[in-house]
């Protein structure tokens, strides 16, 4: 056991896992976090708590994760390289461990020019791969990035932060052939699980997964396929035009446009995608990204036949 998180245990148990996402509020309103947590409780094995998502200031991932934990969720803290240097990252990782948080997703982070502080200075002291490596060294090597042992004084015991380490993978970014190489590097750096970008383009994803399985990467890491329920064809069109690294087939936009009830159709498409993922070799679960539509997650999980969620087997 690496960190002993619920997510890790369920994956070790061989369960097909379902993770979801909770975006912290753009204000200091704790009730929003509690409300979202209540919706997701019982419907996701773990929940990503985003970190200044799209470079917009929000309640910090670790603070929101602690509240989610107290509300009965299993949080996955997200950490981007955009806003922190190695000192701040390691301090936050120690802090997260102290608070009882056990999963960490390492990300590059959206560029600050997308967000509400485009005049800010980005950090990128480390990149996401170096962040995974640092976290793994903290956990398994029991050392800080500088090489110093993680102990308070020379005579104190070593008490290292233990995180189950996740990374993102975007099979739809370019250059396409490099995407699997990048994933291999993330695994080499120490990734335990992977959550992919939202999949709408199934043929392209299948090609990517073929390359992944050809290299045997699926045996070294747990891959969770990213899926997204969308409310309207407009959302799809917007992402197609404005979000870099997304592949959205026109057929799908047409299907959503032709639907009498777009929201219901969005859920149906998402459920169909989950079914496809359950059949696909090398996929260990799904990551349901219902951005600012958390209330739909229970429906998606139930319709996909993923409810109730499994329990951790007694040791």
């Amino acid at each position: 056991m690496k960190a002993g998180s619920r997510l890790e245990k369920l994956l070790n148990q061989g369960e097909f896992v379902a993770t979801a996402e909770l975006g912290p509020p753009k204000s200091a309103d704790i009730q929003i976090i509690k409300k979202k947590a209540a919706i997701l409780r019982g419907y996701a094995d773990a929940v990503n708590i985003t970190d200044n998502q799209t470079a917009i200031v929000r309640v910090s991932s670790i603070a929101a994760a602690k509240i989610a934990l107290d509300e009965g969720l299993e949080p996955i803290i997200q950490m981007t390289c955009r806003d922190r240097n190695r000192l701040a990252m390691q301090a936050d990782i120690l802090g997260a461990h102290v608070l009882g948080l056990k999963n960490l997703l390492c990300l590059s982070g959206d560029h600050q020019s997308f967000g509400n502080h485009p005049q800010s200075k980005n950090v990128y002291d480390l990149d996401s791969i170096q962040l995974v490596q640092m976290c793994k060294n903290m956990r398994d090597g029991k050392v800080f990035q500088c090489g110093e042992e993680i102990r308070n004084t020379k005579k104190s015991e070593i008490v290292e932060p233990r995180m189950f380490l996740g990374v993102a993978a975007n099979p739809f970014g370019d250059p396409f052939e490099f995407r699997v190489v990048r994933l291999a590097k993330k695994i080499k750096a120490g990734a335990d699980f992977v959550q992919t970008q939202c999949i709408f383009d199934l043929p392209k994803f299948k090609t990517f997964m073929q390359m992944v399985t050809d290299r045997g990467l699926h045996e070294k890491v747990s891959i969770l396929a990213g899926v997204m329920p969308v409310k309207s064809p407009k959302v799809l069109q917007y992402m197609k035009n404005n979000v870099a690294g997304m592949s959205i087939p026109d057929d799908l936009i047409r299907r959503m446009t032709g639907a009498a009830d777009a929201k219901a159709e969005g859920v149906k498409i998402c459920v169909e995608m989950i079914q496809q993922m359950r059949e696909m070799p090398g996929i260990k679960g799904v990551h349901i990204m219902a951005v600012e539509w958390e209330e739909i997650v229970p429906t998606v999980v139930k319709d996909a036949g993923l409810w109730p969620r499994p329990e951790i087997a007694a040791e």
Binding site: G109, D125, S128, G173, V181, G245
Partner: protein, 222 residues
């Protein structure tokens, strides 16, 4: 070369308010090539200032001159006689030029007429692009001669982020993805295996983060 751009004229006028005898000093090196602060630009700036004072009915004298390189004390010292009698110096050099003048003429105020932009090259007529961030630890041998520190918007060291699409950066479709360029170049050189290696955490202490930097060549010191 150092690439710079002239500040807005209204900003310059605000900075020089209250002075009577002004000398505008150009630089014949980088800022001449990037059409920001050479003899020609000095002449235009000085004329604009004279015109502005004329309109305001103020009697301010604006003179102009230029030197080979504002970033070398020997050249700046050659200004001694030209500077005499002025109460303000305007430099159309880069930030280094402004500071060299300030150091050599400690009794006179000097103001910058340019914003120093970056280290780069002219790509085509009227377009200059960034190529180096002077991080103090060159890794161009590993990246096909293309710098990820200056050409990736996030200065990533281990390949393109998920926002790279059709060879362009996520922040702007007019910006090439630096890592896509590196990938294509290494592919052409048959050296893609370079990208399989994890590039370790960078030592930024040789970059800006280590404080003001200094190069000392003991063998060249007198």
């Amino acid at each position: 070369m150092i690439v710079a751009e002239q500040k807005d004229i209204t900003e310059i006028i605000k900075m020089i308010e209250g002075y009577q005898k002004i000398l505008v000093i150009g630089c014949d090196t980088c800022v001449t090539v990037c059409l920001a602060g050479g003899v020609k630009e000095v002449a235009i700036l000085a004329s604009s200032l004279r015109l502005a004072y004329q309109v305001q009915g103020k009697e301010v004298q604006v003179h102009e001159t230029s030197i080979e390189r504002q970033c070398e004390k020997e050249f700046v010292d050659s200004l001694k006689s030209a500077v005499k009698g002025h109460d303000l110096l305007i430099s159309t050099g880069c930030g280094i030029g402004v500071q060299t003048i300030a150091e050599q003429f400690p009794d006179l105020p000097v103001i910058p007429a340019l914003n120093t932009s970056f280290l780069g090259l002219p790509e085509k007529q009227g377009v200059w692009v960034e190529r180096c961030q002077a991080c103090g630890q060159c890794i161009l041998d590993k990246t096909g001669g293309i710098c990820p520190i200056s050409r990736c918007s996030k200065s990533l060291l281990n390949g393109p982020c998920g926002g790279s699409q059709n060879g362009k950066c996520e922040i702007n479709k007019d910006i090439d993805c630096g890592w896509h360029l590196i990938y294509e170049r290494l592919k052409a050189l048959n050296r893609l295996e370079c990208l399989e290696e994890i590039m370790p955490v960078k030592n930024w202490s040789t970059s800006r983060d280590g404080g003001p930097r200094k190069v000392i060549r003991e063998d060249m010191c007198l």
